[in-house]
Symmetry: C2
Subunit: 213 residues, 2 copies
DNA sequence: TAGTTTCTGAACACACTGTCCATAACAAGA
DNA sequence: TCTTGTTATGGACAGTGTGTTCAGAAACTA
């Protein structure tokens, strides 16, 4: 069942080359030549495994569990390093106005665990593909949470998808700020700041039901 | 004082080619060959005026008044179409807790005036350069407003630059949502939604002074 | 060991970039 | 109108990167 060891080694070498090069020069400036030099594999070998530079990126991302519901789940059937817990929650927990979204702290902790990788992927030198993949994933999670909240609230004053977009955008901004700050503050403090910024707006956009027992 | 007419025509043709091609295929996929074909100028002519594809983009942006405080003001000494009024305001107006930021509506109106261009530049097919240029500009404006507010408030519970980053990110998200929605709703409504999302968070992050006459 | 799969290196056609230069087209003043 | 300086032109050029192909070497599986 285990794949050929050569295959595993080649793919791993290329993925590691990608990450280390991203940390050094940024995704855009990496060439296939750079990758195969760093990974020490033949040119044809690269194209035997990946169609593209971006194909390699997709693969690396899915292995890291940073892309989750994004596109088809091709890549990691076993999900090696495990995605953040927030994405697995069932909507069984009752929504709480005090804390209208719950994804943020687990997500921050997960990112913190992978500091080096996160820095390489999400730094300004990183590519759109990463950010937008992560945004898509977060939008799914947040939309779910907001729908649960809206289900027990008065009709939203702002379209739900717009609220979700705003929340996700703010989260990405907070995340970028944290990374740029070298993870200097504890995740809990960053999470609190995020909620301070975002929660009152959510409460205003999705107001409590008018009269309820 | 007027430049050589040939120069003006060449530059205008290239800029128009850039914008129309961006609307069609997205900035990244445009090649210099595409540009000179569309503009019908010689290859060497292009490099006589611009060092680069991105150089042309910078020039086009400054002509459009979309980049404002960004970098040096090289390009439009006369500022043809006029930047949004928000960037010109003196900090003479007293900050108002009810409406902690004022930049949004003028900015939305300005974007709406240039619908076609805005769509080409800010659509997902657009480039990072545009978005990040606009973000930088907005961050300056927002920071100024928040500082004015903080000057008459209790110490902020969240670092001011983080608040600014969050506000700008939300605004960009709202703007993207509006554009994707084909400007279907009036700017005033979009502005109201933006403020609903953002204002309560700002008030929470920058609380009123404890005891004041 | 034999048989299969994967890796390799080199060569190839192709696309895009930026530079260069001799010549042609143009603008503006005498 | 003629002259002078500036700008545009097309084509050729070297340089870099991409993605493909192929025959032989190497590594793996059983």
């Amino acid at each position: 069942m285990a794949e050929d060891r050569r295959v595993r080694r080649t793919r791993a070498a290329l993925q590691e080359a990608l990450l280390s090069l991203m940390a050094e020069k940024g995704y855009d400036k990496i060439t296939v030549q750079d990758l195969i030099d760093r990974a020490d594999v033949g040119r044809s070998t690269f194209y035997l495994h990946f169609t593209d530079k971006s194909d390699l990126l997709q693969d690396a991302l899915s292995q890291l569990g940073l892309m989750l519901g994004t596109q088809d789940g091709s890549g990691s059937p076993t999900a090696r390093p495990g995605p953040p817990a927030a994405s697995r929650h069932s909507p069984t927990t009752r929504p709480d106005r005090r804390r209208p979204v719950r994804f943020s702290l687990p997500m921050l902790l997960h990112v913190q665990e992978q500091q080096a990788t996160a820095r390489a992927l999400l730094a300004p030198s990183g590519t759109d593909a990463v950010r937008s993949g992560m945004e898509r994933m977060l939008t799914g999670v947040v939309t779910e949470e907001l729908q649960a909240l809206a289900a027990v609230s008065a009709p939203p004053r702002v379209p739900l998808d717009l609220v979700a977009a705003g929340v996700v955008a703010t989260f990405m901004a907070v995340l970028g700020w944290w990374i740029a700050d070298d993870f200097a503050r504890p995740a809990q403090e960053v999470d609190a700041a995020f909620l301070t910024l975002v929660a009152p707006g959510i409460r205003a956009a999705i107001p409590p039901p008018p009269v309820q027992d």
